[in-house]
Symmetry: C3
Subunit: 312 residues, 3 copies
């Protein structure tokens, strides 16, 4: 029986549970243990990142709770994943005295943005995915150009598209490219981090794990065959969006006995690769990272199409 007074009552540490689920929701999974494994993967890579990841997910969940968000949504971690990614991205790409403050403020905004986007999409039945994280992060990163207390790190340099020259040369270390595909969802590189995240996916369901592996391989191979920059493939940057698309289109938002789901997951993962290339290009003049926009866009196309086509 549910107690109306507190979230997740009957369970111990209900708020911690919701926060951990918020972390796992980044990969569209509701499982606190998966969340814990991901948090471990982050923390062993960088203590600072681990701290901001936890704090941002917690702040997002708290914002959802105090703001009066739907109890079930809060418990499922749906108010945690956008803020968590926002806090991490802002801390990673910003430097200067105000960067921690902006990162935590961004987490609050991402939580409110999530609720707002739910309002916008409610009549359509479409999911919010990571759009609130992407838009909040892009806008707050751009604001650094006009505010003196924080600025972008050197990783993000605006470039003129007319002077752009593609150089694809470089060596790909396939095993690390594969594992970094999982890690890069959380801005991580390294074997251990990648392994922990894959384990986190497989313990929730072998099917999720298979789709994640398949999406990753399809993403990497499509990028290689289409002639993407080897350095980016090697860093896992062509895998992480494809993993998310494969999970979303192939498993999570699959309704009933959809026999086409495996095919749409494959097409979706390939489309994600093309979108990574195009969004990277479109953002070049602004020096912004693509984040998970390729996944969010590609997935929205297929989920939206499925909703329309499955109507009687």
């Amino acid at each position: 029986m549910k107690n109306e007074g507190t979230i997740g009552s009957g369970k111990r540490f209900p708020f911690l549970l919701a926060t951990m689920k918020g972390i796992s929701q980044v990969i569209l999974i509701e499982n606190w243990l998966t969340g814990l494994l991901i948090l471990t993967a982050i923390t062993i890579t960088s203590l600072e990142l681990g701290v901001i990841a936890f704090l941002s997910a917690a702040i997002g969940t708290l914002t959802g709770r105090l703001g009066g968000g739907n109890r079930e949504s809060v418990e499922k971690g749906l108010y945690g994943y956008n803020p968590m990614l926002t806090g991490m991205a802002l801390l990673l790409f910003l430097e200067g005295p105000a960067s921690w403050g902006i990162a935590l403020f961004g987490a609050v905004i991402a939580a409110a943005f999530t609720a707002s986007m739910m309002t916008l999409l409610q009549p359509t039945g479409m999911p919010t995915l990571t759009f609130p994280y992407i838009v909040t992060t892009w806008l707050l990163l751009l604001s650094s150009y006009r505010l003196d207390t924080f600025k972008l790190t050197d990783e993000t340099v605006p470039q003129d598209l007319s002077h752009w020259k593609l150089e694809i040369a470089g060596k790909i270390h396939w095993p690390s490219a594969f594992l970094d595909g999982a890690g890069q969802i959380f801005f991580l590189q390294g074997m251990a981090a990648g392994l922990l995240i894959f384990i986190g996916i497989f313990i929730t369901g072998w099917k999720l794990g298979l789709y994640a592996v398949a999406g990753n391989i399809i993403g990497i191979c499509a990028a290689y065959l289409l002639g993407a920059e080897h350095l980016l493939i090697d860093a896992g940057l062509y895998g992480y969006n494809a993993i998310l698309t494969a999970l979303a289109v192939g498993v999570v938002f699959r309704e009933g006995t959809n026999r086409l789901a495996p095919y749409t997951a494959i097409i979706g993962s390939i489309l994600t690769v093309l979108f990574i290339a195009s969004i990277d290009t479109a953002l070049l003049p602004f020096g912004l990272p693509a984040l998970t926009m390729p996944f969010a866009l590609s997935t929205s196309i297929f989920i939206g199409a499925r909703k329309m086509m499955q109507q009687p």
Copy 2:
């Protein structure tokens, strides 16, 4: 008793009333006297601006009426505020023989755009705010690059983001920065204009006045503490969007006894400052002004979040 034949029958000069309310709706207020004070503030600053402001608001209202728009919406001035701002902005930022014509044409388009956006947002219950004005103005300003009969004034020069250097130095005259915060909503500077607009807000309700003052102060202070350009703060350009956000989030779109409204108004005003900086940055390569986009975006986030979170 209402007469079906004409708008606002029973009142004298119903069309003038609706036009004046259209002017006051820019600051989310329905009060013809406030509209008259604003029009006075504009006209004493620039006769030309006063004429285009009145004509644009009138044309918008007329478009709503002749087009068959909802009678109540037309009477409330909801077809007037986007056209008014569009007409003013186009006349201010364009020069050349066709600029008056484009400004008045833009007012008609902004009225149609308002109705269209109402259609788009109707299922979500979200307000249109000033999005129609912003998009219409941006697009018509951009068209001047390819059409010889009008062109952008020197205030709007496209710049390469990669060559951008932030210079925050400059003296801030706090009292004029404060009053220009109100004036800049209508592209005005000067003590008298600012005072008239604040009076217009206070005569409609002291609470509106307090939120406007608070939003302005929060906007200016947040901009100063985050290290925004002093010249922009001094010109009131960090205050006017924050005023609108504070009014919208704190008072106008507040439902029932929302105890969180003051806090969300404060967070919203701070977020508006960050959005001013980021939208200014994003528009740099196009040489466009941010207009009221920071307000419209920030306010939409909080109004949308409120709608979602107040559901049972």
Copy 3:
């Protein structure tokens, strides 16, 4: 009586019929004969373009059918027109070994995108128009900057807006400018192609034909009077979007006895000219073509406004 087993049963070659209607739906007409005339116009201009046009429309229709799209929508050709334009545009603007593959892949994506956008717009009652084609094409064109197997042709060169200088000089051959207005809807130039398309419109309805002619003339004249580049007017690039707007606003999406329709069609066609100029400008730094965005945007404003204003 309808047989449930196959699409368009009772008619011969139901799939071919739906494909031809898909081709005619580009100009908002459901008529296989019009589609055939258009396909002829394309093929006599370029065999390669004719092949990709047919294949893309067919693939789109097939995607709609296999994906389980609404039978009536598939039969009407609503899954064919966005893929057809996408396939043509991608083949035209891309070169390199993978360009055919990308074009056909793009057609599949445009079909899915169409269904997804139907989901998004369903609560609002707005039509999808050519938005799926535009967004898919822009994104896949941009991806060529980061993928080595295909690249943009020389027609699409990114330019810095700050170095842009407008040169309107050039001779306009009015008759060819007029006929190319129809041809350019399908990226064609030449008297015969233009004539065939106009015939295709007139055989469906003289009213459609009149609006197409009027929209074209208004578009060309407005562009000339506002001072657009003569070379673009001469190539029909200021006419084709205006034709589509006039058809959509003046005839196709006109409900009941709307006496204002002719006026909104005229205003819409003029607005389209301004939008051509502005979208061309906005896309300059990315080197992308405006495609039918001016039409889609302008038409959405007027259809959306009509929906709102005709509510009781």
